[in-house]
């Protein structure tokens, strides 16, 4: 890993002062800071090569198309998929909505099939399934994670001979619990071959090596902005056998093949799912972000965050005025949720920011079913990325002590 000085050069925001304090950014699960290199790549593309893709025959159009398709190849290589299995979307939320809607609309599921999701999911991997179950009259079942902690053997008990689709997060955006998706998928496939396995990789893909072939998921969704890229770009990986069978999600633009008053046919993969002019700037930025992550090394990132999370858990447990949620062991990575006894998370987050320059998240984190499991309406959440270090945790603890003295 690089030194904090080196990271300051890569991420200009790290040099910022908040109320006279050096910024400590611990809200990476929401979005990560931007590397200058990513923005330079986007600018270079935008200023010198920008045109619409896949249409015109002029030079700029050819260059823009190359930038866009090179970005797709970069993503495919990053997750070890085929290039045409990478669909660019607006983000993980749109990716999950696309899968849910298109699967339901394609007669792949029958009316007595069951969709299984868990109560630890982000709303983006909860609500779309709930809604399509309602719209298409499908059955949905919820795995209730006791105390908000996912238990693999308990979860597997919910697989029945009617289960036809399972959608699960690979890393909880609230507790940081790493879900053993590789094992989970293997075990589900042992029980039933034909279960469609969808993974919400929004929090996992930025933090650990992901190989979709090894994982053997049917779909995985993730966002660019949680892994150093720009906002408004995301990815849906899907196995060709399903993507080919699925109906398009949105219509118009590059996804069209032939249109007449008799009807319309659609383009091949991956264009079939990319309606309208795509976010080329975003794709270029994401490709550059992946380059940076690969330079650091995904294994190194995971190891760094494991150590940092374990250090933070140890230090936070020493503060007796905190209640920490989640497993609180080595299965947690990069994210920790807690509450200060008797103090609302917004007050903690606001005071930490203004008194110490530490940026954390407070709220329900788009995971209201999980908040219910915890018996709270909101938590404080810290989340790490490559540029965080143990000193940040020490400063956080000092800051929390300060806030506690102020408000207890």
């Amino acid at each position: 890993m690089l030194s904090s000085k080196e990271y300051e050069e890569i991420f200009p925001a790290l040099k910022r002062k908040i109320n006279g304090h050096k910024l400590i950014y611990l809200d990476n699960a929401a979005t990560t800071l931007r590397p200058k290199e990513v923005m330079d790549a986007v600018n270079e593309y935008s200023l010198n090569h920008h045109a619409n893709v896949h249409r015109s025959t002029h030079t700029l159009a050819a260059e823009a198309t190359k930038y866009y398709e090179d970005a797709r190849s970069k993503v495919a290589n990053f997750i070890n998929s085929e290039t045409e299995e990478v669909i660019f979307t607006k983000g993980a939320t749109e990716s999950l909505n696309l899968v849910a809607y298109s699967i339901a609309n394609s007669n792949i599921l029958r009316s007595d099939d069951e969709i299984l999701i868990s109560t630890i999911e982000h709303h983006a991997n909860f609500v779309p399934w709930q809604q399509i179950a309602k719209i298409f009259n499908l059955k949905i079942k919820y795995y209730p994670a006791k105390s908000g902690i996912f238990d693999l053997s308990d979860f597997l008990k919910h697989i029945t001979n009617k289960t036809r689709l399972v959608s699960i997060t690979a890393l909880s955006n609230v507790t940081g619990q790493l879900i053993p998706v590789n094992t989970l998928i293997k075990q589900i496939r042992n029980i039933r071959q034909d279960v469609i396995l969808v993974v919400d990789g929004a929090q996992a893909v930025p933090h650990l090596p992901i190989d979709v072939k090894k994982m053997d998921c049917d779909f995985i969704a993730f966002s660019g902005h949680k892994m150093l890229g720009p906002t408004g770009i995301g990815v849906l990986y899907g196995k060709k056998r399903y993507l080919n069978e699925m109906t398009p999600f949105l219509f118009g633009g590059e996804m069209i093949d032939k249109v007449s008053t008799d009807g319309t046919t659609f383009n091949v993969l991956p264009y079939k799912f990319e309606a309208g002019t795509p976010n080329v700037d975003g794709a270029v930025g994401l490709a550059k972000a992946i380059e940076i992550l690969e330079r650091i090394g995904m294994d190194n990132i995971q190891e760094h965050e494991k150590q940092l999370t374990s250090y933070a858990l140890k230090k936070l447990k020493e503060l007796d005025f905190l209640e920490i949620f989640g497993p609180q062991d080595e299965t947690q990575q990069s994210i920790i949720s807690f509450n200060m006894k008797g103090v609302h998370p917004h007050d903690v987050a606001h005071l930490l920011n203004d008194l110490t320059g530490i940026a954390i998240r407070s709220g329900h984190h788009c995971a209201q079913p999980l908040m219910k499991e915890f018996g709270t309406s909101a938590t404080c959440r810290i989340s790490f990325y490559v540029y965080n270090e143990e000193e940040d945790v020490d400063k956080l603890c000092e800051g929390l002590n300060k806030v506690w003295e102020w408000l207890k």
Partner: protein, 143 residues
């Protein structure tokens, strides 16, 4: 400058009001209005009893941060005994204050302690939650 604002925002008076349970209860036969800050998960239910055009009783239930709880508590205390017209005038001045606009200090007596709230844009909605809910209870609308 911001730290001075922060001291005021978390002053003893505000902390006391946030802990004050006097107005935190349900009342029967009252008009009910519900308010929510969706992104925060904060919720409030306001109970309002008006007789002869006078706010006879006003209470709230729900949960939220210090700012939202103190604001609701102060609002209930301040509005009890006021006419509906006065309550509406106060409401308007409070909203002006929360937006950093000119406001009538006499009309928002005491609640002026929140006069710096507009300097904290992320907390303004915490402060105004109770007041928006009041608007719903008084006038059937959310501002």
């Amino acid at each position: 400058m911001v730290e001075i604002g922060l001291e005021e925002l978390y002053s003893d008076i505000i902390l006391d009001y946030a802990k004050n349970e006097r107005y935190k209860k349900e009342i029967q036969d009252a008009k009910k209005a519900e308010g929510k800050n969706l992104s925060c998960g904060d919720e409030i239910t306001l109970y309002l009893k008006v007789k002869d055009n006078i706010v006879k009783e006003i209470t709230f239930t729900g949960h939220g941060c210090i700012i939202s709880q103190a604001s609701a508590s102060m609002m209930c205390e301040y509005l009890e005994g006021k006419t509906v017209d006065e309550a509406n005038k106060i409401l308007q001045e409070i909203i002006n204050m929360s937006q950093g606009k000119e406001f009538d200090k006499e009309l928002v007596d005491g609640i002026e302690i929140f006069s710096d709230i507009s300097k904290f844009p992320m907390r303004t909605k915490c402060f105004t939650l109770a007041w928006h809910t009041l608007d719903d209870a008084l006038n059937g609308k959310n501002m």
